[in-house]
């Protein structure tokens, strides 16, 4: 077993906005965190550490994104970090009750080629809405460990760390898939339904696109993110295109992509997005049991009243009034206590203070 004593592991935390990324990050790191800033960009990121024995996990909370395109600052920051800072492991926080949409980012993360641990967050809420997710099956289909967690109650945090460590250990001595399977025997991870070891899944974009991806990959220098780069080049991602500097390569790629553009009814970026969703749809169809009808959720019921065009504003004003009144009714007695405290303190000091200059100051 490779030793990781005294080492630092860098772990990036990625996920959709509102997937509970920061809650999980805070739960994992406790108070040991600080806010940082990516150079040149105004999007903030947080860093924190977790210690396990003599091992230090350095966690980086990336901005929440729905995908990894080049069209928004957050997405650029997230993907530049993943591509250029090379974290050892990526924690992908997935909101269980919005599984399909959240897995869209997961497919991109899989393509970037970094070791991933998927955290299935808020599974309790999804279950309350009648949605059942087979965690072991999801893990097998994605080919990465999936850890169920409830961020706001701190459930599953140890399992996340265990999965990250196991991921790191197994990737440092570069095993074949079978090797990892042997390592992931009945440890604590397997008890939570996490199955390590199946080789990571890739979205199958169909023979035509896959052939094109292969041809473009051959034109790119060897690296783990080559497949992702090739797919981004098919989408004509401006930043990835910029990074291609070898003379003539851009032109050759453009020529290859032009064939696909000519044959496709859709825009190429839409075609790839659709194929990703088809892949996700097949997975969800197999691992999820959906509620029969779209049940009206509590949030829907509250929304119907609170977001009403006529009643919404009075309800909002009434709530604000309540907050205001409560602040003062609850605050007044406390303020009086503090006030009295100061009066008593002053009396006491005057009594014990020796006669002198200071007493004339009052």
């Amino acid at each position: 077993m490779a030793t990781t004593a005294g080492k630092t592991i860098t772990v990036a935390v990625a996920g959709n906005p509102n997937a509970g990324k920061t809650t999980i990050f805070n739960n994992l790191t406790g108070a040991r965190q600080r806010v940082g800033n990516y150079p040149g960009v105004t999007v903030e990121w947080k860093q924190g550490t977790v210690k396990r024995g003599d091992l230090t996990l350095n966690l980086v909370d990336l901005p929440g994104t729905y995908s990894l395109t080049a069209y928004s600052d957050e997405e650029l920051v997230a993907r530049d970090y993943l591509l250029n800072h090379g974290p050892d492991v990526v924690i992908d926080v997935v909101d269980a009750s919005n599984l399909e949409r959240n897995l869209f980012l997961t497919t991109e993360l899989l393509e970037i080629g970094l070791p991933i641990v998927v955290v299935l967050n808020m599974a309790d809420m999804a279950r309350a809405r009648g949605l059942q997710i087979d965690v072991a099956a999801l893990s097998a289909r994605l080919g990465v460990p999936v850890v169920p967690a409830v961020g706001n109650r701190g459930v599953g945090m140890d399992d996340i760390i265990a999965a990250v460590l196991e991921m790191k250990t197994s990737s440092t001595h570069l095993p074949g898939p079978a090797d990892v399977c042997r390592d992931s025997g009945p440890g604590p991870a397997s008890l939570t339904g996490v199955s390590l070891g199946a080789s990571r899944t890739r979205v199958n974009y169909g023979p035509e696109v896959e052939k094109l991806v292969g041809e473009i990959e051959d034109l790119l220098p060897e690296n783990d993110a080559r497949r992702w780069q090739a797919l981004k080049l098919i989408e004509s991602d401006p930043k990835v295109l910029e990074s291609i500097t070898a003379p003539g390569t851009r032109e050759r790629i453009a020529g290859l992509v032009a064939n696909l553009v000519a044959k496709s009814n859709d825009e190429v970026d839409i075609l790839l997005a659709r194929l990703r969703y088809d892949f996700i749809g097949r997975i969800c169809g197999d691992v999820c049991r959906q509620p029969q009808a779209t049940k009206t959720s509590t949030s829907d019921k509250i929304d119907r009243v609170a977001m009403h065009p006529v009643w919404g504003v009075p309800i909002f004003l009434a709530m604000m009034y309540m907050v205001f009144t409560l602040t003062f009714t609850l605050g007044n007695p406390l303020m009086n206590i503090i006030d009295q405290g100061f009066v008593l303190l002053a009396d006491f000091l005057l009594r014990v203070w020796p006669e002198g200059v200071a007493t004339h100051l009052q």
Binding site: S67, Y71, E100, R101, S236, P309
Partner: protein, 71 residues
């Protein structure tokens, strides 16, 4: 017809998005791409426009909704 004309509680299929790569990419990442089935959850003529797509609720701007054609 534009998505803004679909009334609350009605299902529709997205036909096309009138916009550039950026808008298309953003909406696709939210699950809104040509062929997607969606349901209008809230469309009160003003304020937030809410649709349900692929089991998730998505809030989009009214201006954005006007550029989405459905049938």
């Amino acid at each position: 017809m534009p998505l803004t004309q679909v009334s609350e509680g009605t299902r529709a299929v997205l036909r096309s998005i009138e916009g550039g790569r950026q808008l298309r990419g953003r909406l696709a990442a939210l699950g809104l791409l040509p062929g997607s089935e969606l349901e209008v959850i809230q469309n009160s003529g003003h304020g937030p426009f809410v649709v349900s797509v692929k089991g998730s609720r998505v809030v989009i701007g009214r201006g954005m909704a006007a550029r989405i054609a459905v049938e």
